[in-house]
């Protein structure tokens, strides 16, 4: 009887199926082309779905006229102000709660009972407190940023590997140095995760607050053109917001790579 030969085949080849590298580019351009085509052929009226080219053309016109810039500036001031305040406070309080078991025991339950409130609901209250100007919008963004940053800072501090602390103490570090040389750098990656999370929330709150009570700002602008049914300019505003979000995120990533080179 002759020996039967059965070759062993790779049975997980499906796991490293390859897709040509140009496909992702093709995906986005394809989408844009189909979209443009739908509009050009008037399958959907431009009122409901303006063509990408029309959006870009109107967007460009809004840039040249300086309109976009004015709204952008109003929004940028608010979001950067609110983000900065919320971040500084969040990290500070987070560190305090992280370092002091007493502060933790007293304040963490309070923090966690305020945390689930969707912050935008506090806008009317904050308008009562601060009036109708810039302050309440900045405050609401700061508040929305404060909590995720606080909670991440706190858990970052809490989750620093205790073995690192033990090592540092054994090699002679005092409390201050343990905090400075071990806990702070150890918590940094988690803090950054909080900062990234907060960026999305900040942008969402910015737009909401501007829609509810503002004259200028990209949120107000989008609502304005929505009310006027000028869809191209509305979409240009949306586009700008998505760019802003992207930029924000990239900025944080860049900062993260600079501050946390060891990861």
């Amino acid at each position: 009887m002759a020996a039967v030969k059965q070759v062993i085949k790779n049975r997980v080849a499906f796991l490293d199926q390859k897709v040509p590298p140009y496909i992702p580019v093709l995906g986005i351009t394809g989408l844009l082309l189909i979209w443009e085509l739908i509009c050009r052929l008037n399958i959907v009226p431009p009122l409901f779905l303006p063509a990408p080219t029309a959006i870009v053309a109107d967007g460009w016109q809004m840039i040249s006229s300086g309109e976009l810039f004015r709204h952008l500036m109003a929004s940028l001031t608010r979001i950067l102000g609110g983000y900065a305040i919320g971040t500084v406070l969040g990290i500070t309080v987070g560190l305090i709660l992280g370092f002091s078991k007493w502060a933790d025991a007293i304040f963490t339950p309070i923090v966690y009972s305020i945390y689930p409130i969707p912050k935008i609901a506090l806008l009317p209250l904050i308008i009562l407190w601060f009036g109708i100007g810039e302050m309440p919008k900045v405050a609401i963004i700061a508040l929305g940023v404060f909590f995720p940053v606080l909670i991440n800072t706190f858990s970052g501090v809490k989750n620093v590997d205790p073995i690192l602390i033990k090592a540092a103490v054994t090699f002679g570090s005092n409390h201050l140095n343990v905090i400075r040389k071990v806990i702070l750098p150890g918590a940094l990656p988690t803090i950054f995760a909080g900062l990234k999370l907060a960026a999305g929330t900040a942008l969402l709150l910015l737009v909401s607050a501007e829609m509810i009570a503002a004259q200028y700002g990209i949120g107000a602008m989008v609502l304005h053109y929505g009310n006027l049914m000028i869809t191209t300019k509305l979409m240009a505003g949306v586009l700008l917001l998505s760019l802003l979000g992207l930029l924000f995120n990239r900025g944080l990533q860049w900062l993260e790579r600079r501050l946390i080179p060891w990861k």
């Binding site: 009226p45 431009p46 009122l47 308008i127 109708i132 509810i212 009570a213 004259q215 107000a220 609502l223 304005h224 009310n227 006027l228 049914m229 000028i230 869809t231 191209t232 300019k233």
Partner: protein, 328 residues
């Protein structure tokens, strides 16, 4: 839901009068739709062999969209910047008749300040905060035109969009804004509850076509039905005018069918008749549009950059149907 019911009823009755044409009318439950209510209730449409189906909407803008898109044949609502933008954006519809306007001597909309305000005339509003519903709304327009009448412009004040009439009243009563534009019967409410004071009536400042009857392009092509519809509408307008808008020596006096019309409006809008009596908007007796005002509006909106591409009033106004209806 209600629209569907009506349609089914119409189909059922269609058996004995087969030549009847079914017309969908998109409208709001507002007093300013009174002629339509009257025409439905008193059978004016039936006389013209029209089966009218009311389609109720919650906001003005979707009515215009629905009319332009042909999902209703006739729309009845306010004339706003968004309407012009829609037409400019290629969504055609026709404004064919009056459905409410600001007219001297008739209270409809007004500029109010809160009760503790020191402002007594529009000139003193410089730098103050004026509440409107939305940008590009009729309220926006009225506020702008009043200011211009008094030598200012919108850039001299701070406009606060508050998204709803309810929001306007609340903001005025809590004095978060210095002034608001309001319409009846809300003006009466604000005044009687003691938190608002009228500075000027819009009707005293300008003649203004605030709302109208729209035909979808498809409906307009069906010329006979369109004219028939206008006949019924004009008749209802006259009925409304004679009942509630007659004046003697500058004073409003109840006409012959006053109570009946009020009851019809109350039935369709689910409102307190006393409140309705305070807020009966002026309408042309024959339903004629203030044709030249449409161009004025367009020009003003364009000046304020609230319209994307300026259009010609001819592209949107069509009074032929009404004229033909009135001529027969």
């Amino acid at each position: 839901g209600q629209g569907d019911e009506n349609q089914q009823k119409g189909a059922g009755e269609g058996d004995d009068t087969p030549e009847k044409v079914s017309v969908d009318i998109g409208m709001l439950k507002l007093t300013s739709s009174a002629p339509l209510f009257i025409a439905i209730e008193k059978g004016f449409f039936e006389e013209e062999n029209i089966q009218a189906n009311a389609k109720w909407f919650e906001a003005a803008q979707p009515i215009a969209v629905a009319t332009a898109g042909g999902s209703v044949d006739v729309g009845a609502t306010g004339i706003t910047a968004s309407l012009y933008n829609m037409v400019a954006g290629g969504q055609q519809l026709w404004i064919v008749a009056d459905k409410g306007r600001e007219q001297k001597g008739y209270s409809s909309s007004a500029l109010l300040v809160h009760n503790d305000s020191e402002v007594t005339k529009p000139e003193e509003l410089k730098g103050k905060r004026i509440g409107i519903t939305q940008t590009g709304s009729t309220f926006h327009y009225m506020a702008g035109r009043i200011l211009e009448n008094h030598g200012m412009s919108l850039s001299d004040v701070q406009l606060v969009p508050l998204n709803s009439i309810k929001g306007l009243m609340e903001a005025l009563s809590s004095q978060q804004v210095d002034a608001v534009i309001l319409n009846e019967p809300n003006i009466s409410t604000a005044v009687s509850e003691g938190y608002g004071r009228v500075i000027t009536q819009v009707g005293d400042e300008m003649d203004y076509q605030t709302s109208g009857i729209f035909f979808s392009p498809k409906f307009a092509e069906n010329r006979d039905t369109a004219v028939s519809f206008m006949k019924a509408y004009a008749k209802a307008s006259q009925y409304y005018h004679d009942a509630v808008l007659t004046q003697k020596d500058g004073q409003a006096v109840p006409g012959e069918n006053y109570e009946e019309v009020i009851d019809i409006i109350a039935k369709y809008t689910d409102q307190d008749p006393e409140l309705i009596k305070k807020g009966l908007p002026y309408m042309d007796r024959d339903g004629n549009l203030l044709e030249e005002d449409i161009q004025t509006q367009i020009d003003w909106y364009a000046k304020e950059k609230l319209i994307d591409k300026a259009i010609d009033a001819d592209q949107i106004v069509n009074t032929e149907f009404l004229k033909e209806a009135l001529n027969n």
